[in-house]
Amino acid sequence: MRTIFQLIVTALLFSFCSDNIKNHNAQIVVEDGTQTDTPSIQMSDRQMDRKIDEAEEPKYPDLVGNWVGYFERDDDQSREDKTLYVDEGFVWTRENKINISIDQIKNGTVTGRSIVAGNDRPFKGTMRITDEGNHHFSLKEPGDHRYDGEFNFTIIDGRLQGTWTAYQDIDIKKRKYDLEKRSFRYNPDVNLERSKQYVNWNESLETIERVEMDENEFEEWIAQEFATATDLIYTINASNTNLTKSQVENLKRGDLTIIRNTIYARHGYSYKNRPLRVFFDAQSWYIPVHTDIKSDFTDLEKENIELLLRYEKNASEYYDSFGRG
């Protein structure tokens, strides 16, 4: 009996960590627009560019600028199958935070950009005044990108409301929005709010539990645990504090990922990665402004990013494997 028991234990051990000295599939998401190997230009340069534009065009100060809010789906059919239900209380109906930046209005011609879900697309079109005296815009994206489309909106009482239709046959063809005017300024001191839990649904652990319902009657419960973050993400700021080894080495992977990505969010980075996007979209201060922030980081941030990445990589490769880093 004892030998059989030992045999089982050994077999279990073998199967658990067969070859498991390292997680070879470990992947760290570092999007192209956030690489730190480019030298930083002065932060103000980008703002200077804008200032010059604004100085030349003092017209329509109420219309020109960033309009921010949720870009929601506007198709009622087959709504269910495109919605993502991850966990109890975590639902994503595929809305993304959008920033419609109206840059210039000149002789009825409007130019600007829309930034959403990691895409920064220019648009061009016309503005007219409606019978009610509101400003109505019809704007077109160039069409050489899969997710290009046409915007139609009206600005009424300081809110920008309208619709968007894709040119191509994509997953969600129609969207609607109700945006408010916001100005973007990089603020290293802003911290995360407790608005939405970070759930990385791409990484989960499935546990199957057998529960005895009645005598000899079993039911299998499948529970999924998703990679997530702890409360430390609300207190550690990697944009205004020089993080030390001892502060970082005890952090779990989810925390490291969020703390690093919060640096990008402060710079107005628009995420391609869905779990990160959903998490940061829910932050009230977050505005997607750029898809390339490579030259925006401060030296402090670059150092912290390097440190965080080092431990993130180590945590993903070795945290729960037999080998160690």
């Binding site: 960590c17 080495e249 779990k252 494997s321």
Partner: protein
């Protein structure tokens, strides 16, 4: 029945240890060819530029796998009885590698261990005790005090095997309790060798009693 049982137990003992030695070999192979930017060294970036640390680290990594394998094989009674010369030669290698390379290099690394004072103190103690027990086992063999030689070699092997226990415990805690990484590290830095020494003492105590009976 008794005989077949002991064969199965023995096979299990060797199979388990050889399997984990294989994992340790895979870990060692990560550092061949010699590189300073892989695995464990990625989080030793603040010390790895120092030549003395590199020397300590690589001599520790490259020799420890042999110490482990020799240590496991030395407890085979068939080799010991049938080929006493082989037992003696391998024993000398084991003692030499620990006293001259593995333990001193382990001590140097212990001073810079991750996890601060708690884990550093544990690894320093371990390096000293490993050295001491192995040395005593050698002295008792020279004096032909075989029971004492055996007991201290069991203790020495227990410490040698802490390389495996440490990683196994870390793996279990990370998967079941999901503690933060450095908390796990500080805990297993101690448990890794204390658990093994405890088992070794129980084993020694038990066999002493069996003999008296």
């Amino acid at each position: 029945m008794q005989r077949s049982k002991s064969i199965i137990t023995k096979t299990l003992y060797f199979a388990t240890l050889l399997y984990f030695s294989y994992l340790m070999l895979l870990i060692t192979l990560q550092y061949i060819p010699l590189r300073l930017d892989v695995a464990f060294l990625n989080i030793k970036y603040d010390i790895i530029d120092q030549k003395f640390y590199q020397l300590a680290f690589f001599s520790h990594v490259y020799t420890s796998i042999f110490v482990l394998l020799i240590g496991i094989v030395q407890f085979s009674s068939s080799i010991r009885i049938q080929f006493p010369k082989v037992h003696r030669l391998m024993g000398k290698c084991y003692v030499f590698l620990i006293l001259v390379i593995s333990s001193p290099s382990g001590l140097i690394m212990a001073f810079y261990a991750n996890g601060g004072m708690i884990s550093q103190f544990s690894f320093v103690m371990q390096a000293f005790i490993w050295f001491l027990f192995t040395l005593l086992a050698l002295v008792y063999a020279r004096n032909k005090q075989w029971t004492l030689h055996r007991n201290f070699m069991i203790r020495s092997l227990a410490l040698t095997l802490s390389a495996i226990t440490l990683r196994l415990l870390k793996w279990m805690i990370a998967n079941w309790l999901e503690w933060p990484p450095m908390d796990i590290y500080r805990l297993v830095a101690w448990l890794g060798w204390l658990v093994n020494l405890g088992i070794a003492e129980i084993y020694i105590w038990k066999s002493k009693h069996l003999r008296v009976v």
